[in-house]
Amino acid sequence: MNGVLTLFKWVFRIITAPVWVPFWILWKLGEVTGLNAVIEAIAMSTGFYVVYKNLTRKPLRLSLTMLAIFVAFTIYGTLTAFQNAFDAGVELSADDRLVSVNKINFTQPLPISYVNRVRPMEGVASVTHLNWFGGYYQDPQNVIVTFAVDEGSFFDVYGEDLVMSEEAKAAWLGNRQGLIVGESIARLNGWEVGQRIPLNSNIFSQQDGSSDWDFDIVGIYTGSDPQIDTNSIYFHYKYFNETQSFGGNFIGFMAIKTEDPDLNEAVIKQVDDLFANSPFETETVPEKVFNKGFIEQIGNIRLILSSVVLAAFFIILVIVGNSMVLAVRERTSEIGVLKTLGFTSPRIFRMVLGESFLLSIMSGSLGMLAAMVMIGVVNNAPIQLPTLVMTSDLAIEAFTYMALLGFITGIIPAVNALRLNIITALSRN
């Protein structure tokens, strides 16, 4: 029986190691360097020492409560980074970029002739076209976002987001089978410049009936912002159009860069009016609107993620609040003694509140650190996901929540301690 318990105890210690090991190391370092003594002296003179001593008087309860807060903030940090990554597609879309698709649905084609009719329009800086290829690499499950694009105008429209060297651009233009790949997808598949790879399409087939195309990787592009998704690959529309067996001279959609975001409305009207009442009517919207609609198709990811975060916060609120009340109630007679000794009620109020703040901020920060580790793990995992980033906004938000948690869980016991009458306190025991 005892053997099993010891085993359990060790398993538990190992599971909770992320919480206590950093503290243990810090404490040890402090001991060795004598820093602990210095801190103690400072703490003594400021009253912080009592707060600290109160907090650590029941190490077991402290570590359990910390564990709960730690878990909640790890979940919060990781899931919010996910949510931000999904939102990034919308947030980072360019204001001066429009997407023009077939009005019936964006999977329906448009004639390629439309591009040249849009190009000379007033307010249009540049226009390019893209066609979904349905590409996959080696395994049909390994679907890769592949577009056949107009190589000449592609960077005119997307150049501000996707960054690639001039040499690579020149190499791409000069190679009919040239393929440019995003940084993330290149890393995931171990692709390098100069490599020749086959890609299959689950939509198109070559004229000989096969569905594989050969490509030369000529360049790897990066995003101008770390949150820009670099999981897509692009190749020449001409190569696609000449080799595929059906649907020639059709494109998926047009991407239009306007001279100024203020001209968006005018350009939208011009384009959609021009093709109205034709067999291929267009629907032109700002890129932001298009991306938002696209993500909404998957479902309300935002709602799912924030519900989970909310649930996690609810759990700790209850657990931490409860143990704070309990911790202060156990100390009733001590508070009576402190008051007798001349500690003012506001000071005791601050001491109790300080305790809950300290608890919340210490464990919350550790949780956020763990979230950063998780983000690193996810970013390096062999799955296609948008890049997760721990932004400063997210960190500030997290600290706000920590402060809020510290306040909510500490306020009731603090007020109780503030109001506590010395006689009641001392006679309660």
Partner: protein, 396 residues
């Protein structure tokens, strides 16, 4: 032996009836377990509902023929010529005139407005014939009537009506230049076909400039589950680049699309369980500390430490089980039957309902029990090892 059992029983009853004295701590533990179980069950109910919807769509008496490698109906294209060849394959059921029973179908995507978000989403519009209609199990017109051949008329699935705006009976919808009248609504027993708009195939072909091409063919099989005759013919004919699978297999594979969510749900829930576990442990340690005097008294009058151990463990498990039950009830009340839609393998919306089955409840129960067991075992050990003299001192 009976003595130990009766001792344990006495202590368990005593601990449980005294929960009221530690009501807030106990409620915190119950609440934490309830939330964790509710989160897990919600994720599981979502994926269960999705895969049931798709699995329910496939029949094993029908085979579906797509272009090789296309993986979904949307990506497939079949020419009239291919259809004429493949429908001569052996293994296809024949009608009274000796003709093979098959339904060439068209699958195009049109825009609809999702009610919950107000944004445009992809809806599948299927061109079928009366044979195609009969190849679906449980299909019935629930209001209005069937579309007429040669007319721009559509019938809409009940899932579409539930989740997307603008397809009510009698309205006219516009896809590009063409206008279509909604003349009827249909049900297929809650499966994925209810997320579709159906129209007359040749009309759809001409209105969407599809010439004489189709996307898929569905054929009625002579023997259920047996596609070997067709598969063999496809393999031996150099003109055919096709995949033949039973409809049941086709949809079962698509139903796996959300399996990643199951893993995500479990990871999140187990992680949250660690938080809930901290709550349970906290509660139980406090409980043991509060009852130290009580435990010492029992020990002094001859109760074994085993009874102290099991008494504490039982209290923890009872709290978790209550929590698990509350969580399961909450997710049942709020989640079961909830209608939602997401993008399926054919890049169109699949309407499904959250479904909480008994199997899922068992998962929730295991999670709750796990938390109760681990959350109780350490405090129980402390209770069992509490030295009598220290306990009495602690009680003062």
């Amino acid at each position: 032996m009976t003595k130990i059992l009766s001792q344990i029983w006495v202590v368990i009853v005593m601990n449980i009836t005294s929960i009221g004295q530690r009501i807030w701590m106990s409620l915190a533990a119950i609440f934490a377990v309830a939330v964790v179980v509710a989160v897990l069950l919600s994720f599981l109910a979502m994926t269960e509902g999705f895969s049931k919807t798709l699995e329910g769509s496939g029949s094993n008496t029908v085979a579906i023929v797509t272009r090789s490698g296309s993986q979904s109906e949307l990506n497939s294209v079949l020419s009239r010529e291919t259809i004429n060849i493949v429908t001569t394959a052996p293994g296809i059921a024949k009608d009274a005139n000796g003709d093979p029973i098959y339904s060439p179908e068209l699958y195009v995507i049109v825009d609809g407005i999702k009610k919950t978000s107000g944004t445009e989403v992809n809806l599948p519009m299927r061109g079928i014939s009366s044979v195609g209609f009969e190849l679906r199990d449980q299909v019935s017109i629930t209001s209005g009537r069937m579309f007429e051949t040669g007319k721009n008329e559509i019938i809409v699935g009940e899932g579409v009506l539930r989740e997307f705006a603008g397809f009510e009976l009698g309205t006219t919808v516009r896809f590009g230049k063409t206008e279509w009248e909604v003349v009827g609504t249909f049900s297929t027993g809650g499966n994925a076909f209810e997320s579709e708009l159906w129209a007359d195939a040749p009309t759809l072909q001409s209105q969407f400039q599809r010439g004489s091409s189709f996307q898929t063919i569905r054929v009625l099989l002579e023997t259920p589950d047996d596609v070997s005759g067709m598969a063999e013919m496809v393999e031996n004919d150099p003109r055919l680049f096709l995949d033949v699978v039973t409809e049941a297999d086709y949809f079962a594979q698509q139903g796996e699309a959300l399996n990643g969510i199951v893993i995500f749900g479990w990871v999140i829930s187990i992680f949250m369980s660690v938080g809930a576990l901290a709550g349970a442990l906290n509660t139980m340690y406090t409980s043991v500390a509060n009852r130290a005097g009580e435990i010492a008294t029992l020990r002094a009058i001859g109760f074994s430490n085993t009874s102290a151990f099991f008494g504490t463990l039982a209290e923890s498990i009872v709290l978790s089980v209550i929590g698990g039950f509350v969580g399961a009830m909450a997710s049942y009340l709020f989640m079961d039957g909830l209608s939602a839609s997401t993008l399926g393998a054919s890049f169109t919306q699949v309407v499904f309902k959250f479904e909480l089955t008994t199997d899922l409840f068992i998962n929730g129960a295991f999670l709750a029990l796990g938390i109760g067991l681990i959350g109780g075992i350490f405090p129980a050990a402390r209770a069992a090892r509490l030295p009598v003299i220290v306990a009495f001192r602690g009680a003062n």
